[in-house]
């Protein structure tokens, strides 16, 4: 080792096509539904060190969520059917933007609705609020029987939702895709075409566990979203496929619980990563991931994430240089 190592650049812009930008100082983001509203983990870790965080899913009206049991453990994962318990967009706006306004860490608001107009209505309301860095549009929540999950399984409806949110706000718009879609690539293309600034994937996979003694499903909702290490290979594959085609940044998630997992997603073509289920077990790991990534970059002579994003994905690297800058979010600023 000669001299002092140059401190690697972990920053990324997840909305390079948007004048309002979405610049993160590092690519580690707690996922929606796993980090509350950012306040819950205040006594456990320094939330301000995170790249950003995504709020619990907000709906047009307050929701009390599903009946219990809402969660159950499965091999290397868990099933959840919380049912989007939240105070609704009005209750949300009364409480959180004024807190987040004073925070360094960018706050991303996850929204979910059952009608296109409602997505637009929420996006319009959020656009006027302080303390909000971006909107993540959930077109895939699998838990609400009459819910938005169907949007994410259909190319036309995914495009409609994205376009309506795009027209309602100048905030960066991230659209979160459902792994239940038959052709995830065409959904991603439709969403990009409709004006999304970035794409995040994957949401949970629909699963079920049976209580054999009671002879019925464990969860009161019967089905639940599968998350955790069990879903990681599916998620990596989908990130690889989507990042190989779209020219906007991709945020990868699904079963990330340590550095090796994060590197897989980055090399598959994700410009940033979200961590969900692993937070419940090891919240301190969120910050460890940032430190471990930086240490890994130093050890491997990597000065910026753009060098490794998509490194394992020939489709992604085949974009021309300018496209690559846009797609990775590492455009010279």
């Amino acid at each position: 080792m000669t001299g002092t190592a140059i401190r690697p650049d972990l920053s990324v812009d997840l909305a390079p096509n948007n004048p309002r930008e979405l610049v993160l100082r590092n690519p580690v983001i707690p996922a929606s539904g796993c980090f509350g509203y950012g306040l819950e983990y205040g006594g456990i870790l320094d939330v301000q060190r995170l790249g950003a965080f995504v709020s619990k899913g907000i709906t047009p009206r307050p929701r009390s969520g599903n009946r219990m049991p809402r969660i159950t453990e499965v091999p290397a994962g868990m099933l959840n059917a919380i049912g989007l318990q939240n105070p609704g967009i009005r209750g949300f706006i009364r409480k959180y933007p004024r807190i987040w306004e004073h925070w360094d860490v960018p706050a991303i608001v996850n929204i979910s609705a059952e009608r296109v107009e409602d997505y637009a209505m929420m996006a319009r309301k959020l656009d006027e609020q302080p303390g909000i860095a971006a909107i993540e549009v959930n077109i895939s929540c699998p838990n609400v029987a009459a819910g938005g999950y169907c949007f994410g399984w259909d190319t036309g409806m995914s495009r409609d939702v994205t376009r309506s949110v795009r027209e309602a706000t100048t905030l960066p718009v991230i659209v979160k895709l459902s792994p239940g879609a038959q052709d995830i690539v065409s959904i991603a293309e439709a969403v990009e075409d409709a004006g999304a600034d970035a794409i995040s994937l994957i949401n949970t996979l629909v699963g079920m566990a049976i209580d054999t003694r009671a002879r019925k499903p464990v969860l009161a909702n019967e089905t639940g979203g599968l998350s955790g290490p069990a879903v990681k290979p599916v998620a990596v594959r989908m990130v690889y496929q989507v990042a190989g085609v779209v020219r906007i940044p991709v945020i990868g998630m699904g079963g990330i619980s340590r550095l090796g997992d994060a590197l897989e997603f980055l090399m598959a073509g994700a410009s940033a990563i979200q961590v969900g289920t692993a937070i419940f077990s090891q919240p301190g790991m969120l910050l460890a991931l940032i430190d471990d990534l930086e240490a890994w970059m130093v050890q491997n002579g990597v000065t910026g994430l753009r060098e490794i994003v998509g490194a394992a994905n020939p489709g992604f690297r085949a974009h021309d240089r300018h496209e690559l800058d846009l797609a990775t979010g590492y455009l010279d600023r």
Partner: protein, 280 residues
């Protein structure tokens, strides 16, 4: 890359800074109790020990960093805090995968702990006579509560139920001033029947009732109390148990339906007023 226990170093560092509720604690004592259960004592940062109150719980990661099984932490009520300034004790019955793993940890093993978490039992300022109703490992938070109450000069009657005499808490684990009355399903010690059968004898005496145990015991307690008390006196606080993930109110997986909506048992509980809970 991908080194096992990505969080370990980070947690150690924060242990030293001493503010985070996620910490590593070395097991200092393991004593058998209540037949197959164990009292497990582990080191904890002094500030956290000082903040622990009866009703609070900790969530423990019952696996090594290399494993994903069981994935989620397991919640345990605090049995004792501050006998030594930097130790917490929990009561663990080895019935699930997590608890079995935990009971097999030897002295010197390191536990990954999140806590203290949750709300606490509240003794009203006017209360002089406290009735506690414990079932199984539900004995744990009530031992801590009884110890606090006796220290403050309050009268405590501690009722405990178990399947057999072996499953009962040994009387010497409670302060000498506590009246300890037991019931067993098989009649091998004390009252032959449910612990809740004993409750009517104390309803006029008790200013408050505190309970922790299985859901079936709560149902029985509730019907006994509703059938025998006058109005809403004495009030009953119950510490409920739900399948839990985050422990900090983020995931909303552990909710309890109350008259004022769905409440997270990890932050709004685990202690609830019995009359506020919607019992299905």
């Amino acid at each position: 890359m991908g080194k096992a226990g990505a969080g370990t170093e980070q947690v150690k560092e924060r242990n030293q800074r001493g503010w985070s509720r996620e910490f590593l604690g070395e097991v200092t004592r393991v004593s058998p109790v209540m037949g197959d259960s164990s009292l497990i004592t582990f080191a904890a940062p002094e500030g956290l020990v000082a903040s622990a109150r009866s009703g609070h719980f900790v969530e423990i990661l019952c696996r090594s960093d290399e494993s994903y099984d069981p994935l989620l932490r397991r919640p345990y009520s605090i049995y004792a805090a501050g006998a030594k300034k930097h130790e917490l004790t929990i009561l663990v019955r080895p019935y699930g995968r997590g608890s079995r793993w935990l009971c097999n940890q030897p002295v010197g093993a390191t536990l990954d702990v999140l806590g203290p978490l949750g709300n606490r039992f509240e003794i009203a300022s006017k209360s002089g006579n406290l009735l506690m109703v414990a079932g199984g490992v539900g004995a744990a938070p009530l031992v801590m509560l009884a110890t606090e109450a006796v220290r403050n000069g309050l009268s405590v009657t501690y009722l405990m139920g178990a399947m057999t005499a072996e499953g009962l808490l040994a009387s010497q684990l409670l302060p000498g001033q506590v009246e300890y009355v037991v019931a067993t399903d098989d009649g091998s010690q004390g009252h032959h029947g449910f612990v809740t059968d004993l409750v009517p004898n104390y309803l006029r005496w008790a200013d408050q009732i505190f309970s922790c145990g299985p859901e079936a015991m709560f149902r029985s307690l509730r019907s006994v109390v509703l059938a025998n008390r006058f109005g809403s006196h004495p009030p009953v606080q119950v510490s409920v148990e739900r399948a839990m993930a985050c422990g900090v109110g983020a995931c909303l997986g552990c909710v309890v339906e109350t008259r004022s909506g769905m409440k997270a048992s990890c932050v709004d509980g685990p202690v609830f007023d019995m009359d506020q809970v919607v019992w299905s």
